[in-house]
Subunit: 257 residues, 2 copies
Amino acid sequence: MNNPTDQKLILITNDDGYTAQGIHELTQLMAPLGEVVVVAPDSARSGAGCSITPTLPVTLRLVEERGGVTVYSCSGTPVDCIKLATEQCVPRTPDLIVSGINHGENASVSLHYSGTMGAVIEGCIKGIPSIGYSLRTLSKECDFSPYREVVRRVAEQVLQHGLPELTCLNVNFPEVEVLKGTKVGRMARGLWTGEWAEANHPHGQQCYWLTGQFNNLEPEADDTDYWALDHGYAAVTPIHLDMTNHAYLNTLKQALE
Amino acid sequence: MNNPTDQKLILITNDDGYTAQGIHELTQLMAPLGEVVVVAPDSARSGAGCSITPTLPVTLRLVEERGGVTVYSCSGTPVDCIKLATEQCVPRTPDLIVSGINHGENASVSLHYSGTMGAVIEGCIKGIPSIGYSLRTLSKECDFSPYREVVRRVAEQVLQHGLPELTCLNVNFPEVEVLKGTKVGRMARGLWTGEWAEANHPHGQQCYWLTGQFNNLEPEADDTDYWALDHGYAAVTPIHLDMTNHAYLNTLKQALE
């Protein structure tokens, strides 16, 4: 096996499905870093967040094994893929989980809706260093060449140094020909608005398509993921899984206990 | 309208569907506090997390209007319900969003998978004080009487005092006849393991049911949501939406910028 880094094991998934261009790109970028296992949805699961499949069986299919890369497709969500992969597909605990490269950005609150990042959060829950990569485009055919160096560099950094406890990375790229650089930043405050477009329904039922615009509530703040994207930088945000508002615990104790 | 608290508007959803016992209980408990609009999934959406429906139209159906309570069912996820409700169903911005009462607990990392809490996170993204309620049971027929006083008290507290920015509440109940009290605590560290049971497949494909056991990684820590549940208390956890690991930003800047 062509595996220069002492047999590191890298698990790859996404939410666009195992045939998407972004996951092929990510697989090619990771293959030189170790043994690669891909376990990805059998078709697109955009907007899957951290959803799981508790009410139906989930199927797993070996697609191919070639040159140190094994590919499975799965009928479940991205989180299901990580759960299945770690219990049923990998020969040992992966050294790294990478998810993406998503066709569409997942910065700010879009993190919460993102299947790409759902898989990353699941990897992190399992104690495995995990990174999500997303590109600000909705095109299914992209030129990923401007982003390759950063994808590799972030993965190598994490393989070498790990990540703090309960922490994973959310990496987003702007759609540019040349990146200005990389910015580490926090999640911007924002929300989606104007989210529903009326749809026709053959029997006159109320019916809507989800759409909308993202509103960055702090466009001037230059320390956010959105600012970095808007200014041509790759945005890297460390995400912590303990969502407790620790600063509010004592006030709430006084009110409720 | 029977509305003693100056026409407060309360939006209710869940992930068990609009016919579930838990949402009927919650509706009855909220009705004395204001005008109530229920927008809930048309059937169960357990494990929906923060998932959304970007690829299919979502339908909305007025089920009934009676005594200050309006009920809609929706073909989408719990997050879709909040997104649709706030744009299409309510006469003004709600003063409070409540979700549940879920049949099944959503403490520790189960928060991430929870449709009940997905709706709460969405309400919080929209700047509306939001609370999720869940009960440690999988039974569809429950006696909710031991929990009514805490459900009401937490809702009244939030209606009166609001919540800090980007903060919502995750309230979980143990299955007991009498609560020992209420504990405000942080998310316990833990994970689900042994998550897949092999399923039969008619054509021999690899096929699994999601199952598993939750492992609390810090069972001795008495300041967590899990400890409270395991010891007979209602567990209240304030959840913050900014998942940035702020303490790690500078280290990561030095490594990657």
